[in-house]
Amino acid sequence: MTGEEIREEVLDILETIAPDEDLSDLDDSKSFREQLELDSMDFLDIVMELRKRHRIQIPEDDYLNLASMDSTVTYLKPILKDVEKAK
């Protein structure tokens, strides 16, 4: 997946987790927590959704890489580089 594809995928996951949130003006450099009222349970869901969709394991120590869209994409790029984007 390219960076842009990963971004779309993460947006899709955020939409599943917090269906009532408006994601259209998400600032990629700012933390999700600040913008979306996500709590630790929601972060676990991001990790679990990635695992469910792409069979990747994210160790607990790495969760802090998922703070914002930018850091998430940077973190996931090498992990997902050989994975095809699902339709």
Partner: protein, 463 residues
């Protein structure tokens, strides 16, 4: 070969079903085992002589309107992927706490309660605001606060003993497993969930919530077995390897999550592990239910929940009498702000009073039936001192006692709110056996659903 599951969950109550949804959503093979013929446990429902009854639920606490971004209700809906509209919870009309000579009304806007305190206890108004501020600031993730006496903390703010008693009364009735006092943490959580958030109810009652949970769980390929009591948790080499059902069937699992209660779960383990000494819950209730031939509001009763106490001191302890009729909770499911056009629910008055388990347990069948009738009358007689006398309008009645609760939930001594000491981390002596539900954490419908979710998240998802 016996069936193999990732997680076996004991009990199809709110916590077990919520945990099941979380695990099944993330593709685990999950089986929920329920001994009873129906789901729900401590919050359930039944039909008798053509009428629907709720057990447990008077109202959901933590009510926040659709679109609210924070709070336990929002968190639960998100975690279970249930939309607000699927539960369609309607807010209360307004409730009250009634002590001799003083009536404090409250609804889902805390300003009403603040105004009531200011008018009935003028010199406590500023103190009450300070108390609210302290509760808003209370961090429920900081477990060090949990064991502080709430009575000691409240005394730092409120200096009028009657007001203190009036505040404790509803919070204890709706969630204190401890006699006489509460932990400051539990007090703060209950205060928020009742006074700062609020009370609500789906028009169809608790069955709607339970049916949505089951539908969700089954839609994710979760298995739910009714009439499937667990006789034993099989322990081999320090691990739970599965369970044996009452009918002898063996089910294997990588882990077991039990909502049966702490002692109840320990007794199921077949490794002879001595049960960790801790006190059992002792607080239990009788409840009378009257169906009326008209709506309570036509009798002049508009209160959603009325908490009453007939003296200046509120007693929260196991009574010496079969029931303690000095205080109680009167609930009318009719008195919620349902959508316009909703069908009228039959006029209903439910009264809950503290009860003595040992007494009810000791009776033979004939005496039990007679005592039920006698105490139905005494509880009602006590309650109509505080609400309009509805006794001439009653067309059907029912009643449960502590032994009814034991029969249908399997919880020791009918302890509605479980043991006073909670197993907050949900862990047991076995690395892959965990507890959820009333003995793990918080109580009530929202509390038990949160318990199931958080134990599933912490112990059953991350491997």
């Amino acid at each position: 070969m016996s069936p193999f599951y990732d997680t076996i969950i004991i009990g199809a109550g709110m916590s077990g079903l919520a945990a099941g949804i979380r695990l099944a959503y993330y593709d685990q093979r999950v089986c929920i085992l329920e001994r009873h013929t129906t789901i729900g446990g401590l919050n359930s429902f039944y039909r008798l002589r053509g009428r629907d009854y709720d057990v447990g639920l008077h109202a959901l606490t933590n009510f926040t309107p659709k679109g609210t971004k924070k709070g336990p209700l929002t968190r639960i809906l998100r975690q279970l992927k249930i939309s607000w509209d699927e539960l369609r919870i309607s807010p209360q009309l307004g409730s009250e706490i009634v002590f001799p000579g003083v009536r404090l009304r409250f609804d889902n806007d805390v300003d009403l309660l603040r105004a009531e305190v200011a008018s009935k206890f003028p010199d406590q108004a500023a103190n009450f605001d300070r108390l609210i501020a302290a509760i808003v600031e209370y961090d429920d993730l900081d477990e060090s606060h949990l064991e502080i006496s709430a009575r000691a903390r409240i005394a730092e703010y409120i200096t009028e003993p009657l007001l203190v008693e009036m505040l404790f009364c509803p919070l204890m009735f709706y969630g204190s497993a401890r006699e006489h006092d509460m932990d400051w943490g539990q007090f703060s959580i209950m205060f928020r969930s009742i006074f700062l958030e609020g009370l609500g109810r789906p028009h169809a009652g608790v069955r709607l919530i339970l049916k949505q949970l089951v539908r969700k769980f089954r839609g994710l390929s979760g298995e739910l077995k009714l009439r499937a009591g667990v006789k034993e948790i099989v322990v081999e080499g320090g691990h739970a390897t599965g369970v044996i059902l009452d009918n002898g069937e063996h089910l294997a699992a990588r882990r077991v999550l039990s909502s049966a209660g702490w002692h109840e779960t320990m007794r199921l383990c077949n490794d002879g592990q001595p049960v960790t000494p801790r006190s059992t819950g002792r607080l239990t209730f009788c409840e009378t239910i009257a169906t009326l031939d008209e709506q309570p509001r036509d009798l002049g009763h508009r209160s959603t929940i009325t908490f009453f106490n007939d003296s200046d001191t509120f007693h929260w302890a196991v009574p010496n009498e079969p029931c303690d009729v000095r205080s109680g909770v009167i609930c009318s499911p009719n008195n919620f702000a349902y959508d316009a056009g909703s069908k009228n629910i039959s006029g209903t008055m439910r009264i809950t009073a503290l009860a003595n388990f040992d007494y009810w347990q000791s009776l033979d069948e004939e005496t039990y039936q007679l005592e039920k009738l006698r105490w139905y009358d005494r509880i009602t007689e006590s309650a109509v001192r505080f609400v309009p006398d509805y006794r001439s309008r009653v067309i059907d009645t029912d009643m449960f006692t502590p032994t009814t609760i034991v029969r249908f939930t399997g919880h020791d001594r009918g302890a509605i709110y479980g043991a006073p000491d909670k197993q907050l981390d949900g862990r047991t002596h076995l690395a892959n056996l965990f507890v959820c539900g009333t003995d793990q954490g918080f109580v009530g419908i929202i509390g038990s659903i949160l318990s199931g979710i958080s134990m599933a998240n912490q112990h059953c998802l991350r491997d």
